[in-house]
Amino acid sequence: MTEVTCDEFVNQLMDFLDDELTESVRIAVQAHLSICTHCGGLMATYCATITITRSLPRCPAPLPASMEQKLRAMLAAHPSG
């Protein structure tokens, strides 16, 4: 592959970031990145989106109080097996 378009760049982006492209395609993608500021910006915000999503807490808050009460009552009514 000698040249990639912006559409092709987008299609290859995940594999590029995961280092799963063949050598020739990786070089072509890097060449495109070096001349296309639009795709450079897209890749930056794509990576930022992944990083910031991964920083989300899995438990952002305690359980809502009313729900906790209901669940505790449910568990009390169903002894463990």
Binding site: V10, L13, M14, L42, A44, T45, Y46, C47, A48, T49, I50, T51, I52, T53, R54, S55, L56, P57, R58, C59, P60, A61, P62, L63, P64, M67, E68, K70, L71, R72, M74, L75, H78, P79, S80, G81
Partner: protein, 196 residues
């Protein structure tokens, strides 16, 4: 005599399971299903399953993996049930990336765009910023949302997601890429510019 390892020291009781895992079950279900009531139903069902099988677990080590799987299965089953009941088709095809409706989170909230050297652990999000991201996740079509939540929020490997959702690894990667592109579009306006 040395102290026992923390993992083996914990005796699994319904209270321990509730305290340590109920919030995680609830928020995973909520992110997958997009609403509180369904997440509560799933949490209840999963906790009941855990309590019934508690005697089969020797320690906590195997529990998180099992809980992920059971929660995902319960969430998928509930969604299917809701879909059948309402007799309306949801936008879950590969061409449908977004749920119907547009996202309009508060435009004044900004997300600090992480530097490329930042890891997720370097970032502490304010509540409003978390809300922006969760609102965007909720706008993804369920097919994409499932993969995105499991991969980029829960941090599960693609192979495990493929097994959980009963789809191919290629389908996981394709859906994840499209979900990330859509999330990027939704979040990009909220990113602050990186200082030169």
């Amino acid at each position: 005599m040395s102290e026992p390892e923390p993992e083996t020291a914990v005796v699994l009781t319904p209270e321990v399971v509730f305290r340590d895992y109920a919030p995680r079950i609830y928020y995973l279900a909520k992110r997958m299903l997009g609403n509180d009531a369904d997440a509560e139903d799933v949490t209840q069902e999963v906790l009941l399953q855990v309590v019934r099988k508690l005697h089969t677990f020797r320690g906590e080590a195997a529990l998180p993996t099992w809980l992920h799987r059971v929660t995902v299965n319960a969430a998928l089953a509930l969604r299917e049930k809701r879909t059948n009941r309402s007799r309306r088709e949801t936008s879950t095809g590969d061409d449908a990336v977004l749920e119907a409706g547009s996202i309009d989170p508060p435009s004044t909230v900004r997300l600090k765009r992480p530097h490329s050297s930042h890891t997720p652990d370097d970032i502490v999000l304010a509540e409003e910023q978390r809300a922006i991201i969760d609102t965007a996740i909720a706008q993804l079509a369920p097919t994409y949302r499932d993969v995105y939540v499991l991969a980029d929020v829960e941090g599960l490997p693609n192979s495990e997601i493929a097994e959980m959702l009963d789809i191919t690894l290629a389908a996981v990667k394709s859906r994840l890429h499209r979900a990330r592109l859509q999330m990027r579009e939704l979040l990009a306006p909220h990113f602050e510019e990186v200082a030169p």
